[in-house]
């Protein structure tokens, strides 16, 4: 069975996906402040790893990484509303890339599974 990652075009498609996703996230007033002052190239790498992971591609992402990476943001007030906003942007990104709604729901479920780690619970 092929993964959604393979269906959307694998590694080659991820750079375009990161462009779309990162632009949405930076333009979203609900969450843009969490990205102030971050190095855009490093952030894009992380987003590429995140997209690869939720799409079922080859990934070394672990819950521990997610927890550590977001700990500082949790201190700054990162909460469910912000997590929901990212998942929403993720869905909109996939839709723009032509992914079918049923598959988007699958991806959203994978993203959902990271919620407790991201929010440090």
């Amino acid at each position: 069975m092929t993964t959604i990652y393979e269906q959307v075009g694998g590694e080659a498609a991820m750079n375009a996906a990161v462009d779309v996703f990162y632009r949405k996230v930076l333009s979203d007033d609900r969450i843009a402040r969490f990205f102030e002052g971050v190095d855009m190239d490093r952030q894009a790498q992380k987003q590429k790893a995140f997209l690869t992971m939720v799409l079922g591609g080859p990934s070394a992402y672990t819950g521990k990484d997610m927890r550590a990476a977001h700990a500082r943001l949790v201190q700054q007030g990162l909460s469910d509303v912000h997590f929901d906003a990212v998942v929403e942007n993720l869905g909109a990104t996939l839709k723009e890339l032509g992914v079918a709604d049923a598959l988007i729901a699958e991806v959203a479920a994978v993203a959902e599974s990271t919620r407790t780690d991201v929010l440090g619970r």
Binding site: N15, A16, D19, Y22, M40
Partner: protein, 318 residues
């Protein structure tokens, strides 16, 4: 913990950087940005476990040979190190200098050994124990590089380069670093070059390489400064724009604009002229805060992240 440098043992505290420990121990380690960018403090690990973050941004060949940024290296166990050897740094001599404005000089440096460096990349000059990074504005023949140096009053390197350097005087050139180079793969792609201060140097290199390669797409050159005194090569760039229909040059200043200059923050000036950047190859060089702002705005205006090359000129931290 113990740190061994060139066979001499020193103490290093938990969480302390190799650079700080060696300086505290009285070792003479050249250094400049303390941010892992300039490469001035690169040393080589001969034994011990290398923290990965100490090698961020280094070429793979360097990583494989154990090179680390001393300023980014916090050992988790005993480490033995040595200073950088030949091959990464080449001997060089001053060839000449000329003033480009009241605060910026063009400095020509002759390389006494081959260095695989392109216009737009940057190198670190070492002289008399000081180390500072400069972008390569051009290569003249294969063995002379052109640098644009802004005089920093009281600085360890720039007053020498701008005012006192004499042909034949020796220094060492280390590098190159950076990715702001013209790649001739897409000759019709619009190029957007934005720089502040001596951030013009790498852009000057990219512009000339593009023109030499016969780049057919539009080339937009934006140079920003605080005031007209901060701009340089204005006449030269105007004349290039006048003779090349695909080149546009827009000088801008925050205050005191003269005729033919725009006034305002450089990101606002760029947005006025180039509201959409989708499909463009973007180069952004200069002061770190402005580079960061520009990268974000030009990305949001449509350019792909993979098409944005940047060089933040991190000021020396003494």
């Amino acid at each position: 913990m113990t740190l061994t440098y060139e066979g001499r043992s020193h103490r290093i505290a938990e969480g302390q950087t190799v650079l700080d420990a060696l300086l505290a121990a009285g070792e003479a380690i050249p250094h400049a940005c303390r941010a892992g960018a300039c490469g001035a403090c690169v040393v080589r690990v001969t034994s011990g476990s290398i923290p990965p973050e100490a090698q961020a941004g280094l070429r793979d060949a360097w990583k494989a040979r154990g090179y680390v940024h001393a300023c980014q290296c916090r050992p988790r166990g005993p480490l033995a190190l040595e200073g950088i050897g030949e091959g990464l740094a080449v001997p060089a001599k001053i060839v000449g200098r000329e003033a480009l404005s009241s605060s910026v000089a063009r400095v020509l440096v002759g390389l006494d050994a081959p260095l695989d460096a392109l216009a737009g990349q940057y190198v670190t000059l070492h002289r008399a124990g000081a180390a500072r990074s400069f972008s390569i504005a051009a290569r003249h023949a294969s063995d002379v590089i052109e640098l644009h140096v802004r005089r920093v009053p009281g600085g360890l390197m720039s007053p020498y380069l701008c005012d006192r350097a004499q042909p034949g005087e020796e220094l060492t050139v280390q590098g190159p670093h950076g990715h702001c180079v013209y790649v001739p793969s897409r000759p019709a792609q619009p190029l957007l070059l934005v720089g502040t201060g001596t951030g013009l140097a790498p852009l000057w290199g990219v512009l000339h390489d593009a023109l030499e390669a016969g780049h057919a797409g539009p080339i937009h050159v934006f140079h920003g400064a605080l005031d007209p005194e901060g701009l340089y090569l204005v006449d030269e760039l105007r004349s290039i724009a006048a003779s090349r229909p695909n080149v546009r040059y827009v000088p801008s200043v925050l205050r005191g604009a003269l005729p033919g200059m725009e006034e305002g923050p450089v990101d606002a000036v760029v947005a006025r002229h180039v509201p959409r950047t989708a499909g463009m190859r973007v180069f952004v060089c200069g002061a770190p805060d402005i580079v960061q702002t520009l990268k974000k705005k030009l990305f949001l205006a449509g350019a792909s992240l993979a098409d944005i090359a940047s060089d933040a000129f991190v000021p020396a931290a003494a």
